[in-house]
Symmetry: C2
Subunit: 299 residues, 2 copies
């Protein structure tokens, strides 16, 4: 049976519970604090924040389920046709303390109009402060396996989409080593609504598994002032991406979304230095050289 | 005689020299480093950066003079009609180390099309980490005096424009205590091109005078961890404004401007905490309560 909006929202709520529980286990020290909020026009959410953990310096796992009349801003910015909408999703950004553990982001979302049109969107992408090819390939292998369960075209298509989406145009840099990204994925002859829904839930369940591997790879590595400075500069680029390009962030802020929940994606600290250029052949310079579209991490 | 583009650019260059010299004297420790750059389509600039000074932690004073064919992005985003443009200006942002010294911004700019249409834009605005009504009124009194030399309508009009422009809509906060802002100021029966030009230069000359007063008020005040955290959170809001709303920043980044010169406005460090709410009646809470449009600082 094709899942309805209640079923999807409920499953996303359980996904948030599962991911938070897993992340607390992985972190080993901090717990999530929950902030419940209501939206006056309809719906609300559960924003959960973790701070000063054993691994995660600042992170959030947010669930929301919002609905109501389509506003002028939504019509203009999202090109929505219809009077009433429904949207639910789970969003995550984690900023670890150790520079050798990557920043990670995940989002799955469902959108429905009163006309009956509906679609899913989402993605997972990894932003290592220091890129390690083995780590990146492990991450992409996970994503490919999950995608391949549904359709062979998913991974190649969504990988390219992530390269294009998570891109700081003014820096000529990808945000990190990418991952998968998709939007406006509608039921079709190839994939049913149920399939896409299960794909989103599977991505969500993959998230803690894939991230734990990244955490274990880097969390015990020693670092000093140079690595902290570099981490903070890379966080600065993360802030630039989220505030200048990220469609969800921009749309949320300009349409009167809940600012604190939207900006939970920003790090506790970030830095900018004028024209910082890492010294030749340094690990920092090597990372910069890999922040490009079109890298096949699985090779 | 009506000043031509060469004359205006030359005067702006001298303005940059004058301001840098004055700021070095006020800072008392650091000197500006110059970064010269060329624009392949025509023109270039002199970006000057000061770091880790006695007062200024990170700041920039930039001059640019650029010209050439009007690109598609410029047509679309600036609504420019014509084939060739010329633009020159001076931009400043200073982030002091002491939380009791305000962040300050200034910009004056001149734009000309091959059709002969031309206009000036600019402004100065002050962003105290801690708002002090006396400091704010001294600042606004300077601006009013300079405006009044040209036209009695300037200060009231440009003060409201600054309140509207330097506004973080998603936070329902002004960036700071405002100042003056104007754009597309064209020669008219009330003010000649020469008058507007002199007004811009006068604002530029006022800048170090007005800022020195602000610096002297706060630079020797003692501060601790709480004030540093608050300063960094306010810097975070400054980053949000510049990346989400500031037209010059957004246009520059998206049209292929020189990224490092544009983003010299960002602080060395900034912070974000989820849902930070200062304790009641604290100096931080008092500052928040004053970040509103329509405050008459001269009363």
């Amino acid at each position: 049976m094709s899942p309805d909006r209640q079923k999807i929202a409920q499953e996303f709520r359980l996904l948030q519970d599962h991911i938070c529980k897993e992340l607390e286990r992985i972190d080993g020290k901090a717990s999530f604090e929950q902030d419940l909020w209501d939206r006056s026009e309809g719906g609300g959410g559960r924003t959960r924040i973790i701070r000063h953990g054993g691994v995660i310096e600042k992170g959030g796992v947010a669930f929301s389920e919002v609905y109501g009349p389509v506003s002028e801003v939504m019509k203009k910015q999202l090109g929505l046709e219809g009077d009433e909408f429904f949207a639910t999703g789970v969003s995550i950004v984690l900023h670890p303390e150790n520079p050798f553990v990557p920043i990670i982001h995940m989002n799955v979302r469902y959108f429905e109009m009163d006309s009956g049109v509906c679609w899913f969107g989402g993605g997972i992408d990894l932003t290592p402060h220091y890129i390690d090819a083995v780590q990146a390939s492990l991450f992409h292998a996970h994503l490919k396996r999950t995608c391949d369960k549904y359709d062979g075209s998913f991974y190649p298509k969504f990988k390219v989409w992530a390269d294009d989406y998570f891109y700081n145009q003014h820096r000529n840099e990808t945000r990190g080593v990418g991952g998968v990204f998709f939007d406006h994925l509608t039921p079709s002859e190839i994939v049913s609504k149920e399939d896409i829904f299960h794909f989103c839930v599977d991505l969500g369940k993959l998230f803690p598994v894939a991230y734990e591997e990244q955490v274990n790879f880097g969390k015990d590595r020693i670092y000093g002032e140079q690595e902290i400075l570099w981490r903070n500069l890379r966080r600065g680029r993360y802030v630039e991406f989220n505030l200048v390009y990220d469609r969800g962030t921009k749309f949320g802020l300009l349409s009167g979304g809940r600012t604190e929940s939207i900006l939970m994606s920003l790090p506790e600290t970030a830095s900018w230095e004028y024209n910082f250029i890492p010294s030749q052949d340094s690990p920092e310079a090597k990372t910069l050289s890999k922040l490009q579209k079109g890298v096949n991490w699985l090779d």
